[in-house]
Structures are given as C-alpha cells and as structure tokens.
Amino acid sequence: MATPTMDKLEALEADSASSHLIAVTFRIRRFNPEVSADASWEDFRIDIDPKERVLDALHKIKWDVDGTLTFRRSCAHGICGSDAMRINGRNRLACKTLIKDIVSFDKSGAVSKPVTIEAIKGLTVLKDLIVDMDPFFQAYRDVMPFLVTTGNEPTRERLQSAEDRERFDDTTKCILCAACTSSCPVFWNDGQYFGPAAIVNAHRFIFDSRDEAGEQRLEILNDKDGVWRCRTTFNCTDACPRGIEVTKAIQEVKRALITRRF
C-alpha cells in the first residue's frame, strides 16, 4: 500500500511545484437538531497536503469553508482523546490520521474516493461529530478508576517492583478517547455494557500491586453488563489509537474472575 502511494505522490510532486496539494473530497455526516431532525452527508472538496492530518482538513473546512462544522479537539497531538471519529468506517483519532494513509488514487493519480467522516457510534449524537460522552464516563466512574488503599499513608512512596509494574503497563496508556467502546458491536446495541474502555481502566488498577480494591472491581465487572458480555470480536484492539491490547486486557480480567488470582 504505502510504496505505490508514495510513488504516485512523488510523481505528482515532480509534475509542478504547487501540485503537492491533492484535491480530496471529505464526506462528513452532519446533524444539527436546530435545523433538521435528520442527519445527512455533505461533501467538502478541498486541496490539501497529503502529509497533513484529517484534523487539519477539518480545520480547513471549519475555518475557510463552513464555520458551522462542529467537532471536538484539544491537544491535536493524540494525547487528550477528544477527537475520536469514524474515518472511512474505522474509529481513529483525526489528529493521528494522515491524509496519505487513507486516500486511494486512481490511474490518473487523482484521489478516487471521498474520505467519509462521521461521529463515533453507540453514543447520542448532539451535533455533527460531537456525541454525548456521559454514558461512556459513567461506565468509567463505575469501575472506581482510582487507587484504593487501607491503613496509614506511608511516609515514602509506595514501592513496586518492575515486574509488578509491567503487569498493567499496557493499560496505563489509555487516553479515554472512546474509540474502543464505540467500535464494539455489543455496546452499539446495548449501552448498558461497561464497554472495553471501562474494563481497560479497571484492569489498570486490578493488576496494580499497590491497590487493594481489586476484588471489588472484579465483582463490579462480574455483573450481567460486565466482562462476560464481551464476544471477543477484537474491534476494540483494532480501534485503539494507543495500541493497547484491549481484548487481551478484557480476557485477563475474565481469567482473574475465574481463578480469583490477580
């Protein structure tokens, strides 16, 4: 994939000095309850550097073409988790997705298909690409994502061996972008399911040797809307922009529940 695309790009660049820009159509699913009860697709065709990101394209559209386009973003560098969206049917961060990686070219070197952008699925759409994240964060809060200890505060740091730290290293990377939870078909159909992100963040503390509420969190996830609803589809692992092995973390929680060892 990458090589032919780069060849085309280099050929394009050789053509003329200004033509490092390519014309891309962004097909964005829009919804504005103040205007219509229905969502609809709208095309924006703009010239953009293929090395820029989808977020840059959204900025260009919002700043130069249509100021009513509404989306969340904050850090623009893959840290805050604000801009998860469905790009060409897959959940990604707009700020981590390069145009060149998602457009395809036809024989003449022109972009052959529009790039589709829509809000993440399974959460209430409020406007354009903005969804109501409350149910997502409710599930997060419900797994107690904080350190729980008993006894007196130690006077120095709580020590932990490198091996113990390693057990939950992967799940510390979560930025709560909801890409995983909103890629899960179980969650799409039933938002009562805790969803992968909540389980990832429970895993973060269940397997932390310094934490003492592992049993409690396991009991919470033993619920009928807990880990047992996971059907191992791996959508979450594919979606995670941080490369967290989400499905593996969920399986580790299942195993801990069965063996009661963690």
Partner: protein, 163 residues
C-alpha cells in the same frame, strides 16, 4: 406565513428543506439517541456468578459438542452407506445400546442448553426494550424446556416394537 423571509438565512451545511424548518435554536429536534444508555441510575453490581457460569458453560459444552456432534454426523451421514441407511431399524438398533442412549441424551441436553444460552446472549444484545426481551426469552425458555423434555422422554421410553 405570508412573508417571504421564510427562507431561513443560515450558513449551515444542512440545506434548507422546502418550506420553513420545523426546528430552530429554541425548538431543536430530538437528538439521535443510542439504545439503552448507561446513566448513574443504572443498577450497580447484581451479585452472583450466573454470567460467569454461563460463559464457562458455553466453552466447556462447546468442546464436548465437537466430539459428540462430529461423531454423530459421521455415523448418521457418512460412514456405512450415508443417509440411505437411516430408518426405523437403524435408530432402533443404536438405541438398544445404553452407550448411544447416553451419547444422544448428552448431545440433546448440551446442544439445547448451549444453543438456548447462545440465543439468550443474542436477545440481550439486540432486544432494546425490556418487554421485547421478556417475551423473546419467555418464548426461548418454553421452547427449550419443551424440546429437552420431549427428547429425553423419547430416548428413555423408545419402544423398538412399536407398530
């Protein structure tokens, strides 16, 4: 109504539909809701290990079913002349042996419970309204119990001399 400024002056991307829009800033349309959302009123942990047991059962019964079902298919459909051999006498001959009785009984119970629990998960996944769930599950459990009981009855009371 008669004024021609009915055409909403909007730079919004969503094109002005014919006539006046039903919705405006003060009267927005309902947002597009997702099914069965979690709120802070969602009941917290229900005690008990039923879901874990069901999950384990699916995997364990699955492993046993591989042997039972493949064996069953081989005997019924492949070996020794395939389907053409199946008849009353063939069934009567096999059920004369307690081994095949237990085999078929086990297969009946495991497949029915496995299939029923699988459908239960699917109903939980897809039925959004509490009432729909209730009725579908009611139907499922009734059919399951009926089939298991009828099947067991047949296996235990089978009379090869019936005419």
């Amino acid at each position: 109504m008669s004024s021609n400024n009915a055409v909403t002056e909007t730079s919004s991307a969503i094109g002005v539909v014919e006539g006046e829009s039903l919705y405006d800033v003060d009267h927005p349309a309902p947002v597009i809701e997702a099914p069965r959302q979690r709120t802070n009123k969602t009941p917290k942990a229900t005690r008990g290990n039923f879901e874990m047991a069901a999950w384990l059962f699916m995997r364990l019964s699955g492993v046993v079913l591989v042997v039972l079902v493949i064996g069953h298919l081989l005997i019924q459909l492949v070996l020794d002349g395939g389907v053409s051999k199946i008849g009353f006498a063939f069934v009567a001959g096999r059920w004369a042996s307690p081994f095949w009785q237990v085999w078929d009984l086990l297969m009946l119970w495991l497949a029915m419970l496995h299939g029923a629990n699988g459908l239960r998960t699917i109903i939980n996944d897809y039925a959004e309204r509490a009432n729909t769930r209730l009725w579908l599950k009611g139907l499922l459990y009734t059919a399951t119990v009926f089939t298991i009981l009828l099947g067991s009855l047949v296996i235990f009371t089978f009379d090869p001399n019936i005419r």
